[in-house]
Amino acid sequence: MSDPVIEASDVTRTFMISAGFMRGKQPLHAVNGISLNVERGEVLGIVGESGCGKTTLAKMMLGLLEPTSGTLRLDGKLVGAAHRIEVARILQPIFQDPYSSLNPRKSIGDIIMLPLKVQNDPDPATWRKRAEDIMDLVGLPTRVYNNYPNQLSGGQRQRVAIARALINRPKIVICDEPTSALDVSVQSQILNLLQDLRGEFGLTYVLISHNLAVVEHMATRVAVMYLGRIVEQADTDTLFKAPKHPYTQALLGSVLTPEPGLGVPDTHLGAAYPNPIDPPSGCTFHPRCAQVMDHCSKQAPPAVANGGMVECHLYAHGGGRKSPKRKSK
């Protein structure tokens, strides 16, 4: 029954960045050996804090960045910069900031029609009609067709970005923080719209967000990232009801829902986020982990399959111990 539309296997992306004055360049493993499948029709939520590599992963899926090693397959075909247009027909992004994701010098109509133009749609006579149809569908009045982005509100701009992503009927949409730049009341409108469109077009979403409440609401399956690795993967119910990895537990504990009287939880997360250039040894989470054990700092944790997947020493002894994939530093 598995029908993956995106298959990532052992994908790594390394940036060479300057470590400081006179210290030359050092590798930063933004994405460090990720294997992940996105199944057709699901909404896969990817959560994690800034710097965990979720945006880098999204850019690789979009073909904007080449993996340093490992392979990414889209509908069975290898993703690479060479097949940009083919990737574009299958997969489209929606970005976080609707203020910078639209070219201020182009009219709304031109922005929405751009995919048809670029992907050499054979029937230019229908472009205008199709643009107006999709505007109608995302809830944009067609009279803004000749307006410019600066004349629209944040929510409307995000609708324009959604219309542009959907006009050529992609199969997968990668939503990178689609609502975090929007006000609460507008955020809910956009989330509702994304839900509706998913039904209408049979879309698969990859939803990248740091807002766990949004991910819980939208996603059918969730992957938690920490320092370039996926540390836990499970379907949404399992993950939110019974989080396994201590990091997932801390993340969930940090969600502040508008329920008075509960106070601010103490997440027991120690030190600050580590420097990704110089990640901690063994399990990269061990300096912040409340349940740290002796061997956590020495040995990378194995991936334990238990319906979902979790990378943690706590669960290693029970179900079939696998050899750690990563070389420990």
């Binding site: 009341s185 509702n192 939110f240 508008p258 601010v264 600050a272």
Partner: protein, 337 residues
Amino acid sequence: MTKQILEIENLCVDIDVPSGVLRAVQNISFTVAKGETLSIVGESGCGKSITALSLMNLLPKSAKRSADKLTLDGRDLRDLNEREMSDLRGDAMAMIFQEPMTSLNPAYTIGNQLEEAMLRHRNVSTAEARDRAVFLLEKVGITAARSRLGQYPHQLSGGLRQRVMIAMSLMCEPALILADEPTTALDVTIQAQILHLLAELRHEFDSSLILITHDLGIVARVADRVAVMYAGEFVETGTTEQVFNAPSHPYTQGLLRCIPIPGKTKRGAHLGAIPGIVPNLVGRIEGCHFASRCPYADDACRTGDVALRPSFEKSHEYRCVLSPEICAANLKSGAAA
């Protein structure tokens, strides 16, 4: 009756813009008691940040502030000149800004900036100021505090910088701390840590806190009392329990329906939405400011001013023509829909 630290009556801020006068804050009144946390919550453009800046008298030149009463610890702030005001800032009242990267000066060490905050206002030696800085850095959870004094802001992570900002705001034991979106730029786990810290420190130092945010989750967990702001006005005020458990104003009710709550909101179901956009605040708005987006609005809402009125309990007020009973019924029927 506890002592009121801040008392404000009919605070207005008008800003000159090319198209006219933008009435950013219109007749808001509130008090903050000693040790209390008041949260002003609202969406972008509602005037909550302008309110904070107007209290610190840090408004842009084009803005004019007026108030019938504006006292901090019994002292009238309205007639203070710039010099007297800057004596107060960082001393009796301190502010924590949203972006810790830009609110610390990158050219000075942490120690310099912390000590400066105290040397400016208190007659103390540098050594005493440094001891106080170390004491507070440890209080805000920074390890190896003494060695951190020589570090520059860019050497610290965002969460650490915000801790330094909090320590700095506490240097002179201010009566009132204004925190404008203190955790918006931070990750969720760091946000929880910082808020946890703020709550602890507030008990320890017994400072009053005005927390300005757009995040209802933070408000519900941190604040004692809440003021919901919309289009320059307070539309609902009350204790956190009153406002969150029995929201009366249609705007507050709508906002709370917009937010998915894990475990409570049905997954994938439609969230509530508030149609329309915030009205333009340039010029005068006739009638209720929320009328253009309100599902219950009729012609009566669009004429004349709508005043704040008490709900079932006296400390809970809202600005609507509908009676408390109708509002409570709306809350139920809205949740069912």
